[in-house]
């Protein structure tokens, strides 16, 4: 009823018809409509942190029995806008010992991949910018590129704390990327596709007319894969309890210590956009995407369910951050290589048997 996908498809079809009537070639019209779609995606991505920063401040405040931002607007809802304006007008300081070019490149290399990552993400049914056949792998591969930006920031700042943060980031992000990719393999094996859209729509249906056929409800393999994905996603997004690269109390926030003004804002944008991306991936891969958990007579559209699931997982991320203490570096690595890795392999073998049984 309130589905956005048919509306947008209709709009762009109308747009191409309008362009054709004005004598623009169909190829050119297609190109222009693609450019508009790209801009819509980028706008969506850059507006996410504005919401998430406010949510994070409120959630942390309530967990610590505070009120959080209250002054700017009703319940402080304009706080993030005030912060953004402040950051945009702040002086851009480049430290004397810094490598100017690398220092300039770092925030760009961190932010650029995250904008691309949202391309194969289905927000509800049919609302997907580009349905890439290798969607899951695409997101995992491109988001791994941000690590290079963090390394550039750590190295280019000319500061030992930043350097340590960069080194920790490289070791941690590289290690946790492996269980993260491996935890997605069972989902891909079961549904036989790497397109997020196909995976999300394959999860529609009910067992005994009650339990949704989401991947997380498959016995053992679903829960194991979801847990491994969740834990390694928290590590990949540098959030507590895995925030070793930016540990405030020991590294004075690590790789972004020397960044101020808009460059710092870009690091912030990337962090929250990645949190949302990880949550959205979890929703599409494990929680059925835009599938409603119970029938609502079609009043509530699928994108609403998708965003609800995504925000539930974002809340989980924040819950972790404000309730768990930070891990030690060696334990962090041990946990990844000696616990998550073997269990994700076990899970892949189990899924193999499961698929074999189902084929029989």
């Amino acid at each position: 009823m309130f589905e956005l996908a048919p509306l947008l498809t209709q709009f762009f079809a109308d747009f191409r018809g309008f362009a054709a009537a004005r004598g623009i070639s169909p190829d050119m019209a297609l190109l222009i409509s693609k450019v508009i779609q790209t801009n819509l995606v980028v706008l969506f991505v850059v507006s996410i942190p504005a919401v998430l920063v406010y949510v994070e401040r409120k959630v942390s405040a309530f967990m610590q029995a505070r009120l959080g931002p209250m002054r700017t607007g009703p319940w402080g809802i304009f706080q993030t806008f005030a912060d953004t304006i402040k950051l945009a007008f702040k002086e851009d300081v480049v430290p004397e010992g810094a490598d100017r070019w690398v220092h300039f490149m770092a925030p760009v290399v961190v932010v650029a991949p995250v904008l691309v990552c949202y391309a194969p993400l289905p927000i509800g049914q049919g609302l997907i910018p580009v349905d890439i056949d290798t969607g899951v792998l695409f997101i995992l591969a491109i988001s791994g590129m941000s690590t290079i930006g963090i390394l550039l920031g750590g190295w280019g700042s000319g500061n030992k704390y930043s350097m340590l943060g960069g080194l920790r980031a490289a070791a941690q992000l590289l290690s946790y990327e492996i269980p993260r990719v491996l935890s997605v393999v069972p989902v891909v094996m079961l549904y036989g596709s790497m397109s997020l859209q196909t995976i999300a729509t394959s999860q529609q249906g009910r067992w005994f007319d009650v339990i949704p056929q989401w991947f997380i409800f498959y016995p053992v393999i679903g829960q194991l894969a979801f847990l491994i994905f969740l834990i390694s996603s928290v590590a990949e997004t540098n959030r507590t309890p895995f925030d070793m690269p930016e540990a405030e109390s020991e590294l004075v926030s690590g790789f972004h210590t020397e960044f101020s003004g808009f460059k710092f804002a870009l690091f912030f944008l990337a962090e929250y956009a990645y949190v949302f991306l990880a949550a959205a991936m979890a929703a599409a891969l494990f929680l059925g995407g835009g599938d409603a958990p119970f029938s609502t007579g079609g009043i509530i559209p699928s994108w609403f369910w998708f965003l609800l699931k995504t925000f539930a997982i974002v809340f989980l991320f924040m819950w972790f951050r404000w309730t768990y203490p930070r891990l030690r570096v060696d334990r962090l690595m041990q946990f990844c290589w000696k616990f998550l890795m073997p269990w994700s392999f076990v899970n892949i073998v189990l899924t193999g048997f499961f698929v074999l049984l189902r084929m029989k």
Binding site: D133, A141, G144, I148, L151, L167, A170, E177, M194
Partner: protein
Amino acid sequence: MLENLPSIVFYVLAAALVLSAIAVVVLPSIFYSAVALGAGLTVMAGIFVLFGADFLGVAQILVYVGGVMIIMLFVIMLSPQTRDNFQKHSLNQSLRGILLALASAVSLLQGFQVFAGMGDSVRDMVPTSAGLGRLLLGDLLLPFEAISLILLVALVGAALFGQDKLS
């Protein structure tokens, strides 16, 4: 103009690839060279995707840019040389480099002549991952497993070298 779009994109990507490859060799600091190499590998993934090898392009970014490059930067950051310690090229090194480059240029040209007659290279995107998977776990299973065995040997060797020396 739009009919030539794939060619335009190809030439832009190829120019970027050549520029970054030159930058890898010419830049004074080894850290810069590594970053330029990362840029070159990313551009190469773009060329793969342009020629319809979508899985190869994504795998290139996942393995080379997201894995090998980061380990390289990690090693450079851990190695004792400081940022201002620029690398120097000796004459001997340059000679060997030129010889190697000539040899690979000749073999690339030979290879190009074999593949040039094999038809149109730019075509519509056809997903390649399913076909690749069938090949790797079907016809090419034995070579695939042999390569993974070599990697295993390399890993065991690395673990042996990294082990603490007990007296």
